[in-house]
């Protein structure tokens, strides 16, 4: 079902639930992985994904269609992720309880990444980025989202996004290179 049809059916109370069901099925995987990349843990991603779609349901009637529907949904998902991580950082105010370290530990424990040393280092490097910069990196590197669309999702200018991605990429490359350790000295 195309987005205009979903929106039209959603406005009709008789077909609202059907339309919303279609919307969830259409965008659930994109939303889930967008969230999962940020919070790492499946249970957290599950909670947040549901929260995102509940908010979509509550506010879809006010959606002015000044942006693409998916961009609007992505913006809600982005805000939910950033709020979640921010509240988590506020709870873990002791230096010993570092949220980034906690996320890195979850990545290390993920069986899917076991054995792939370079990929593990890459993921840990990404987790070291500030939340917003990490988000920009994900949107560009994994989703290949155009900067113009990214600007609508994040509310940041295209120029700032390009600079942010460039710096993120440099930081990641430096970290992975250093984490490789010194080369063994020849006998």
């Amino acid at each position: 079902m195309e987005d205009p049809e979903i929106l039209a059916k959603f406005r009709d109370p008789a077909s609202r639930n059907l339309a919303f069901n279609q919307l969830v099925r259409k965008y659930q995987q994109k939303v889930y992985w967008h969230v999962r990349k940020m919070v790492v843990d499946h249970a957290d991603a599950d909670d947040l994904t549901q929260d995102v779609f509940v908010k979509v349901f509550q506010h879809l009637g006010n959606f002015r269609q000044d942006a693409q529907l998916f961009t609007w949904i992505y913006r809600i998902a982005t805000n939910e992720c950033l709020s979640f991580l921010q509240s988590k950082r506020r709870r873990f105010f002791l230096p010993l309880n570092d949220v980034s370290a906690e996320l890195a530990a979850k990545i290390e424990a993920d069986p899917a990444i076991a054995g792939d040393e370079i990929e593990l280092r890459l993921q840990k490097a990404i987790l070291r980025l500030p939340d917003k910069q990490r988000l920009v990196f994900h949107l560009r590197y994994y989703d290949e989202m155009p900067y113009e669309q990214m600007a609508e999702v994040t509310g940041t200018s295209v120029g700032a996004l390009k600079a942010s991605y460039h710096h993120a990429a440099r930081k990641i490359e430096e970290y992975v290179t250093k984490a490789d350790g010194p080369a063994p000295t020849p006998p």
Binding site: N17, F20, N21, V24, R25, Q28, Q29, Y32, W33, R36, K37, V40, H42, A45, D46, T49, Q50, F53, V54, F57, Q58, I107, D110, P111, A112, I113, D116, I118, E119, R121, L122, Q123, I126, Y141, Y142, D143, E144, A169, I172, E173, V176, T177, K178, D180, G181, P182, A183
Partner: protein, 149 residues
Amino acid sequence: MNTPFRLAKHPRRRPQPLMSSPPAGYFEQLPTRVMARVAAPPRRPLAWRWPVPAAVRTALASTLVLGTFAASLWLGSPQGRPAAAAGLDAVPPPQLVEYLTSGETHFDVQDLADLPTRHLGLTGHYLTPSTSELTAALDAQPTDEAELL
């Protein structure tokens, strides 16, 4: 020297990084779970025991706020001071000094420094130490703590 890592040359795993998949059937069940949440009745606010029009509720709330403000102003005024403070004024100063020096209370140099200047002559009519007595008393005070008497 380490081989520099270059993102552009690293095989990009798309659309998501290497992460374990969600449980089997997750995406089949997610729409149902979301629909159940949006269909749940919203939490009802506290119900009034009697139907009160909005205008009356607003008036009651305004009265409560203004009344609280007025009460705080009155309590801060001289007329609002508790009766205990007025009762304390009636206690003769020698009795106050006797209580303070009885050992049941302790006060330090900071407490004395905070005394208003008009109370400096409080003990003048029954304590008349000489200069040497005052010096000896001060020298006898411990220097490692500021607690007196």
